[in-house]
């Protein structure tokens, strides 16, 4: 405890929020980096995933973990459908068309969710084991936040290994750095993109389910948090998994601390910081200087 401030619990809360931001945003970063596609509907997949998880638990009587896995799979499958049928037609279209298309998609998602399940917030009850406090030795903290951090670290480590050590990861890195060159070397960008898009949307679904506890889960979700997801991606750098990880933690902790001490001006500060940062490094904190 420094100056009456519990640093540990501040950090834990912020890092837990940052992990959710990371899990949701990482797919957006990779797909934007790969194709330069402005996908404003990414938060929509997070919402659909969250709803799927909530439904699997409520209607299907599944536990939290199996519901998350199923939510991941279902959202990934749906996103492949979207990608094959619609997104791919617009890869070479102008930014404006991509923006319009994805905003339209968000509206469709919001409206269909409202029609089927109503406009209210969907409660997502955590299993009793995750609800209490946990003793970490140096402090007591909410068990769920600690679990979130652990899950986030495992996912980040898995993604890092996947990107750095596997053949597909190498292909993704190559394609992000220089798509034309990668294509000339015989990498099938189309297929690569479909797979990453599905994985990214699945991850978003996971984040939607995991984060529902404090982000809530209502039809306005994709628009409410759109700016946050985009900020994380822009600060982290397009197509950079580790960059997004650090950016998400940074924004998560900043947001958590500022909301506590500056409940009024906290968000203002984050927007101002993002603007300054993007002016200083348009490619993001961790992005490579682009062409």
């Amino acid at each position: 405890v420094i100056l009456g401030v519990d640093v540990a619990s501040m950090l834990l809360g912020g890092v837990a929020a940052g992990m959710v931001l990371f899990i949701v945003s990482v797919g957006l970063s990779v797909t934007m980096g790969l194709m330069g596609f402005v996908n404003l509907a990414h938060g929509g997949f997070a919402m659909l995933g969250g709803y799927a998880v909530a439904q699997f638990m409520k209607q299907g009587g599944l536990g939290f973990a199996p519901a998350l896995v199923l939510g991941f799979a279902a959202t990934a499958a749906v996103s492949v459908l979207f990608e094959r049928l619609l997104y791919r037609r617009l890869y070479r279209a102008s930014e404006l068309d991509q923006v319009l298309f994805t905003i339209g998609l968000v509206f469709i998602m919001i409206a269909s969710v409202t029609v089927t399940l109503g406009p209210e917030n969907q409660p997502l009850t955590l299993p009793p084991a995750l609800r209490g406090q946990i003793d970490l030795g140096f402090t007591q903290y909410r068990a769920y936040s600690v679990v979130l951090i652990a899950v986030g670290v495992v996912i980040a480590a898995g993604l890092w290994l996947g990107i750095e050590r596997t053949r597909m990861g190498a292909q993704i890195r190559a394609a992000v750095d220089n798509r034309r060159m990668a294509e000339s070397l015989g990498i099938n960008i189309d297929r690569l993109f479909t797979v990453t898009f599905a994985l990214g949307s699945g991850m978003a679904a996971l984040g939607g389910g995991l984060g529902a506890e404090f982000l809530g889960l209502d039809p306005q979700y994709p628009l409410k948090y759109l700016v946050y997801f985009l900020i994380v991606v822009a600060v982290g750098g397009l197509g950079r998994v580790t960059g997004v990880f650090y950016a998400a933690l940074l924004i998560g902790v900043l947001d958590f601390v500022l909301k506590k001490y500056l409940p009024q001006g906290g968000t203002l500060f984050i927007y101002a910081l993002t603007i300054l940062l993007l002016l200083w490094r348009p490619q993001g904190l961790f992005g490579a200087r682009g062409t």
Binding site: M32, G36, V38, L86, R89, L90, R92, A93, S94, E95, L96, D97, Q98, V99, L100, F101, I103, G104, L105, V106, F107, I108, M109, I110, A111, S112, T114, V115, L223, L226, V227, L230, I231, A234, L238, Q264, G265, T267, L268, Y271, A272, T274, I275, L278, L279, P282, Q283
Partner: protein, 341 residues
């Protein structure tokens, strides 16, 4: 003069270029319709005023998006700046004369536009999109925070706006004054924008949109032109916001929100961007549909709007006017505008 005209006459392309700024026979029609609306629907003048404001706002966006090719999701920043300028000056008893109020709104919005443009327009693509979004969010947060001056989340209502020319009251129940006032301002702004886009300045904007690299080579200062265009467009958006605040005697955070910024992009693209009258077609189509549908079936409206956007993005990239133009020319589909790479 006559000799030069004689030279270009035989070449159709040159003739099209030399005559394209002239008034077409159909151009008075929208204005006659607007005047007819005043007499035909005296009970819907409130809606009519909203419609005229939407046209003006979309027209300001057209300058930036359609002509200069800057994709922005933050244009409501200027609409809101104009609205809050009028609202705060009136609410705090500093200034409530409407016409000078609009000029002040335009000036302040232009200042915000130039200041933000100077820094934002260094970037492009996704970063630019993000920065426009963040700037608007920043202003919205600032308006939310300064509730002592801005009314915060509740906004400022019952703004005491002085009668126009000291004679015509702004009556919220019978908005005849508002309608004519908005129509007059729209007409003047349109005349300005029309002159601008056919001027060499407007041509250089189109040049920048089509090829950023080649413009410096022909001696056009790209950044200066873009910032100037952004500032002018911001001024017009500020005027639109100012009229909105005066007509409704009300300002709130919604004037600075993502909703408004996204709606104006939708309106413009629906009508067709980069073609002056696209703002008119889009605003009429959007506002009429939303007026009748969004209150009765809000969800169905959103669903329909979503499908419409997807359809426009995939198939009809030039909006209503593009479809109309393509079918008039008898050419196949309405897709594939010339500027698509």
């Amino acid at each position: 003069m006559t000799a030069a005209r004689g030279d270009v006459a035989p070449q159709p392309a040159a003739r099209a270029l030399a005559t394209r700024h002239r008034l077409r026979a159909w151009e008075p029609i929208p204005w006659l319709l607007a005047i007819a609306f005043y007499f035909a629907f005296p009970r819907h003048l409130g809606f009519g005023t909203e419609l005229l404001i939407a046209i003006l706002f979309a027209l300001s966006l057209d300058l930036v998006l359609g002509y200069a090719g800057i994709v922005t999701l933050g244009h409501a920043a200027f609409f809101g700046t104009g609205a809050y300028t009028v609202g705060m000056l009136a609410k705090h008893g500093i200034w409530n004369e409407p016409i000078t109020g609009l000029l002040l709104a335009a000036g302040l919005a232009a200042a915000v536009g130039v200041a933000s443009g100077l820094v934002l327009l260094r970037t492009q693509g996704l970063t630019l999109l993000m920065l426009t979004l963040c700037t608007m969010a920043l202003l919205e947060e600032a308006a939310n925070l300064g509730h002592a001056y801005t009314g915060g989340f509740d906004g400022l209502d019952s703004l005491p706006i002085a009668p126009l020319f000291g004679v015509f009251e702004f009556n919220p129940l019978y908005p005849t004054t508002q309608y004519i006032y908005a129509l007059a301002v729209l007409f003047l702004s349109f005349a300005f924008v029309r002159t601008l886009v056919y001027s060499p300045f407007g041509q250089s904007l189109a040049g920048i949109r089509e090829n950023v690299l080649r413009m410096p080579a022909v001696g056009a200062p790209v950044r200066t032109r873009l910032v100037a265009c952004y500032g002018l467009s911001a001024a017009i958006a500020g005027v639109a916001g100012g009229i909105w605040a005066q007509a409704n005697a009300y300002v709130n955070l919604g004037t600075l929100g993502l909703d408004r910024a996204a709606t104006v992009v939708i309106i413009l693209v629906l009508g067709g961007h980069g073609r002056l009258y696209g703002a008119f077609a889009g605003a009429v189509a959007y506002m009429v549909l939303s007026h009748f549908l969004s209150k009765i079936y809000p969800t169905a409206w959103q669903l329909g709007l979503g499908f419409l956007l997807v359809f426009i993005a995939l198939f009809a990239r030039n909006g209503i006017l593009g479809i109309a133009g393509a079918s008039r020319r008898g050419g196949g589909s309405a897709g594939s505008p010339p500027g698509r790479s």
